[in-house]
Symmetry: C2
Subunit: 143 residues, 2 copies
Amino acid sequence: MSASTIRKHHGVFHWKGVDVLVYKQEGTAPFKDVTRQVLFDGTDMPCELRYFEVAPGGFTTLERHEHVHNVMVIRGSGRCVIGDEVHALAVNDLVRVPPMTWHQFRAGDAEPLGFLCMVPAHRDRPQLPDVQEHVALGKLLEP
Amino acid sequence: MSASTIRKHHGVFHWKGVDVLVYKQEGTAPFKDVTRQVLFDGTDMPCELRYFEVAPGGFTTLERHEHVHNVMVIRGSGRCVIGDEVHALAVNDLVRVPPMTWHQFRAGDAEPLGFLCMVPAHRDRPQLPDVQEHVALGKLLEP
């Protein structure tokens, strides 16, 4: 009972009984140095709460989908692309990724970017940009 | 667009554009020194993510309901009652409150207890203990 009721924080953004997973199980979409931990799955809740950590210099896949992402930064700092905007991110900042909006999360060079992400348990699969879109979106992140 | 997409952390566990609300809108259930902030509402997501903060010496209502609570501590420390168990809580600890299980969150005397709580957007109303139950559960928290 206790095992499923309380999961103690067990070090630096690791939890007892929570596995550190690869970011994505399949596909060829580009990303770099991202881990995934499922803090609360959708067994008895219509949403999941995951913790993603992007190592310094890393980034998540640039993608979009119909379902909304609700994100809260809880470690480090970085930047995100949401549509055609780039935002600096720090601990406790909140990000809502609207439906069908390109988005990517990037850590800076000095520290990781760790964030919670709440999503519906039943959700559509991400779409990837074509080459032209990728180039246009990539320009947003140039120094 | 930016206003709803990014909500910057705006001080000590306050966010730009997020109101600090009373803990409960109605009823006579006992609680002490608790605030509520809705970080993500259920407009386009089947769940809500709220931030509750219990001031030093404060506590939430002792209650139970059919819906599950998924909790993550993000500030301070304290204790929780979950069923007939009492657990110490610190930052980043995770708590799952199962259906129809009595629960209460309490801050210690020295610092607040702040936690995220994910719940279904559509959920049943809390039930309160009768006097006998309240006394029995209260004994769990005696020093």
